[in-house]
């Protein structure tokens, strides 16, 4: 049985595909992305994508596990279908960030972190969480 996403979910998923440039239906659920994910995301990338295929956009977009992705790109590198789960996850993050829903408050990071961290970590973190 083919479950087709409908209504608002369909629009949101189409919008996600447009934003990321990825084709969610390309995924055939081999699970290589999940097997290689060092962030031990729960639910893992392949499950997130499966749920998107089933039209469960609202559930996926509010999963906490998307914030554990550190864009190491192992999943994207190993996908035999050329899908980039990392890009889809970043697309999901951006939906929050573009809607002014930051996951980290710059003011609460603390002096030690800000003083001791490499700029790479702070700049990247700000791009991905704020």
């Amino acid at each position: 049985m083919l479950i087709e996403p409908q209504g608002q979910s369909l629009t949101a998923i189409q919008e996600l595909e447009r934003s990321t440039g990825e084709k969610i239906t390309d995924c055939y659920q081999c699970g290589k992305c999940t097997a290689g994910c060092p962030a031990s995301m729960d639910p893992p990338p392949s499950v997130l994508i499966r749920k998107l295929q089933l039209g469960m956009f609202d559930e996926v977009v509010s999963e906490q596990s998307i914030w554990s992705c550190m864009a190491c790109l192992t999943c994207s590198e190993r996908c035999p279908k050329g899908v980039s789960p990392a890009a889809i996850i970043e697309g999901l993050k951006l939906i929050h960030l573009r809607d002014m829903d930051p996951q980290v408050q710059a003011e609460e990071l603390g002096q030690e972190f800000l003083a001791q961290s490499t700029q790479q970590a702070v700049v990247s973190g700000f791009r991905k969480f704020i």
Partner: protein, 304 residues
């Protein structure tokens, strides 16, 4: 064959090399001079943005790296050298290289960025990593001839991390899963290479901002594995990997058998017999000097 060290290589340092990873930059500068070329820093540069935007519609994230590429293009025209720029930091390398790749793949992005920035990037810059320069332009064979110090007594695990290699199709530096460039580099300078499985695992990266424990666990895993395979030190090309791998050892209860994490240029300097006094080893959480000295390699504070 240093013809007065007059080959000038356009060079983009990136922010971290000016603060937390000064030893990386200084050791690279000193090695270059000893090898007969000069890293010629771009006059004006800004942050590259550190992470390449993964979504296709996030053009704003390309503004930073585009500005850097424009400065590089300007620099090369002014100095009359082939349009290229060399970086040391894996993050900068990844961002700049992927940006230039994105422009090649979709020239309309370059047009959009040029119109927005009111500048003109012509798309000519070739982004290279310092390792890539040593391998492809200088040559590892030639590098091996320059080695003055026997480094074989130290067992070093080459740690690549993620962004130096991935995505393989765009970066093209080496095989993203089975890379050899750091191995070959260490071979060339005579270090005993410890091949270990976690060499391309993620150190936790910027997750230190939101879930530091998770990031530290990932880093610990890499260190444990390197230790198990008998490494006395790790070598990396990324200041964030260095910082994460280093910091997670500080937070562990026992630092007795801590593994020092070095930049590849610091080992190169030792192999070339250069002084390490500018290497900022005091910034490292795990001071590499005891291990190196114990291996009988000169780790001189002052050139004698």
């Amino acid at each position: 064959m240093s013809s007065e060290g007059n080959i000038r290589v356009p060079y983009y340092p990136g922010c971290t090399l000016k603060t937390k990873a000064q030893g990386f930059e200084r050791s690279a500068m000193e090695c270059s001079e000893a090898l007969g070329f000069v890293l010629d820093e771009l006059k004006d540069w800004n942050c590259c943005g550190a992470s390449f935007p993964l979504t296709k519609d996030n053009l704003m994230g390309l503004a930073g790296p585009t500005n850097v590429l424009i400065e590089a293009e300007k620099h090369c025209q002014e100095h009359n050298v082939a349009p290229s720029v060399v970086t040391l930091c894996s993050f900068c390398y990844n961002t700049l290289k992927r940006t230039s790749h994105a422009f090649k793949e979709d020239p309309s992005k370059r047009t959009t960025l040029n119109a927005f920035l009111e500048r003109d990037y012509q798309g000519t810059i070739k982004v290279e990593h310092y390792l890539e320069y040593l391998r492809d332009t200088y040559g590892f064979d030639k590098l091996a001839e320059q080695v003055k110090v026997d480094m074989s007594s130290i067992r070093v695990a080459p740690y690549y991390g993620c962004l130096l290699l991935k995505p393989g199709k765009e970066i093209g530096l080496d095989d993203p899963e089975e890379p050899t460039i750091l191995h070959d580099f260490l071979d060339a300078i005579g270090v005993t290479v410890v091949d270990f499985p976690a060499q391309v695992d993620c150190c936790g990266s910027y997750l230190v901002m939101r879930e530091p424990e998770k990031a530290m666990n990932l880093s610990s895993g890499i260190l444990d594995e390197a230790g198990e395979y008998g490494a006395q030190a790790l070598v990396t090309a990324c200041p964030l990997c260095q910082s994460n791998l280093d910091k997670c050892q500080r937070s562990k209860t026992s630092t007795k058998d801590g593994l020092p994490v070095l930049y590849f240029t610091q080992l190169l300097a030792m192999a070339l017999g250069l002084s390490t006094e500018n290497h900022q080893f005091e910034d490292h959480q795990i001071d590499p000097r005891p291990v190196i000295t114990a291996c009988g390699i000169g780790c001189s504070e002052k050139s004698e």
